[in-house]
């Protein structure tokens, strides 16, 4: 959501989106894990939600993940002409992040589908790729 009023000359806010590193051909999500309670997130806060200070250490997650849900958005949002496919992805042993889905294969993933991190797109949005051949069968809704 955007505050009312002109933002024409306002500076862009610092980029709040998750960060990634590339290791070989793989992209990994940079986040944090609490040494006390084990909670993971896409950030490294000074105090974990468990109450422990200074226990969240930086670590990397991925490159795989599982789709919690996805949608194809058909309305325009700034700089992103429709359609755009978005998904909540539970990164393997890591946090849940929002990512754009590369629709190269023209098929949107379903909950439970496996995806892999693919860094950021040209707008800086986290992006995941989906290989339909990896779709699990025998789960009812996913069956062809």
């Amino acid at each position: 959501m955007q505050r009312a009023g002109s933002t024409e000359n306002a500076p862009m806010p610092a980029d709040p989106r998750p960060e990634f590193v590339k290791e070989g051909e793989k992209y990994l999500l940079v986040g944090g894990r609490c040494r006390s309670c084990g909670l993971v997130s896409a950030y490294v806060p000074p105090i974990c939600s468990c109450g422990q200070a200074g226990q969240v250490q930086s670590c990397e997650f991925g490159p795989g993940g599982t789709v919690f849900s996805s949608t194809v958005l058909h309305i325009p949002v700034p700089e992103r002409p429709p359609p755009t496919c978005l998904a909540y992805v539970d990164v393997d042993d890591g946090p849940r992040i929002l990512a754009h889905v590369d629709l190269g294969l023209g098929v949107a993933p379903l909950p439970g589908d496996q995806v892999f991190l693919a860094g950021r797109n040209s707008l800086g949005d986290p992006i995941v790729k989906f290989d339909q051949k990896t779709r699990l069968v025998g789960t009812g809704v996913n069956d062809e």
Partner: protein, 386 residues
Amino acid sequence: MSELATICGVGTTKFGKQPETPARELAWEAVSEAILDAAITPGQIDAVFAGTVFGDPGVATRSLQQLGISGVPIITIENACASSTSAFHEGCASISSGRYETVLAFGIETMTASFSGAISPIPSDPEGAQGFAMPALYGMSAARYQHEFGVTDEQLAAVSVKNHGHGRHNARAQHQKAPTIDEVLESPVISSPLTLLQCCSIADAAAAAVLRPPGTPGGVRVLSSSLKSGGLWDQRSELVWGWQIVADTARAAYEEAGVSALDIDVFEVHDAFTIGEIVTTEALGLAELGAGGRLVESGHTTLGGNQPVNPSGGLLSRGHPLGATGLAQIAEIVWQLRGDAGPRQVPDARLGVVETMGGGTAGVDGNACVVTVLETPASRNAISPA
């Protein structure tokens, strides 16, 4: 049953795109109606709690001064879509504590001053910075429900058909035409699987309520009001966004009022998108987890059913002026409990619930949720059949 406060008067404007009407005139209309309904004078108001999301700084003070409401504390609250129910919640708390005798709770929003369509995502939010518009959040909940519980397109559409059908009886609603299931499903896809007629419209409007101490004769009794922000919504969350915060807030409100979901005669809930009502009715205890789609199909929540939900037409019919929506929901339940709801009256309604859900922040299960339990005025209660 305990009582936090009494609602002695309510008022709202019409709901719709009315960019030609200044905010102050919307405020005058809603607040004047509430003041006259409460049979008080502006000078009796000790404090104002206002809710707005996109309103200009000072909009409440600017809007109220010419009604003679000045020189008293005016506190503006932003809590996303739950802004004015948060204002109502704080107003009730201030009455209950004895801090004030007469409080105006007030909500205002002129959405067309900021947007021509869907609300733009906030660029400072990790998800908003990705262009994550609210329809996509609810689209993902609907997709998950279809996958996990087999909720059908027709069940989603049934919420739209029901609420637009209710809205035909509400002269203040923006949309007063009831579509068919096919018309809902054939309208353009906004965020799969949600179509246009499953998404609320933006609106300009104001709404207000006058609150007085418990026991004030003739007023609707506020039995409880609960306000919570969402817990972390992350990889540990199996429930869709917003389910847990509504359930937690409702549980607290029911416990405070000494009631259960089964006791409630009428609900106004946050149906910004059809899936929102399905999820919310489950979280409020009207259906088991995953059974909300079947609930709406059964007719249980339709006017004439056992527990009507959104007799006003809801946000889908009324439109969604964010900062005014919560108090519009309050106004509808007050009219229902006083027997003033005309052709959409729920017969013998004695207990009503309002639920408002506000979102827009990544990683939490909602910015805010308010659930309040209201009871019919004592005099009416005494003569109503059991």
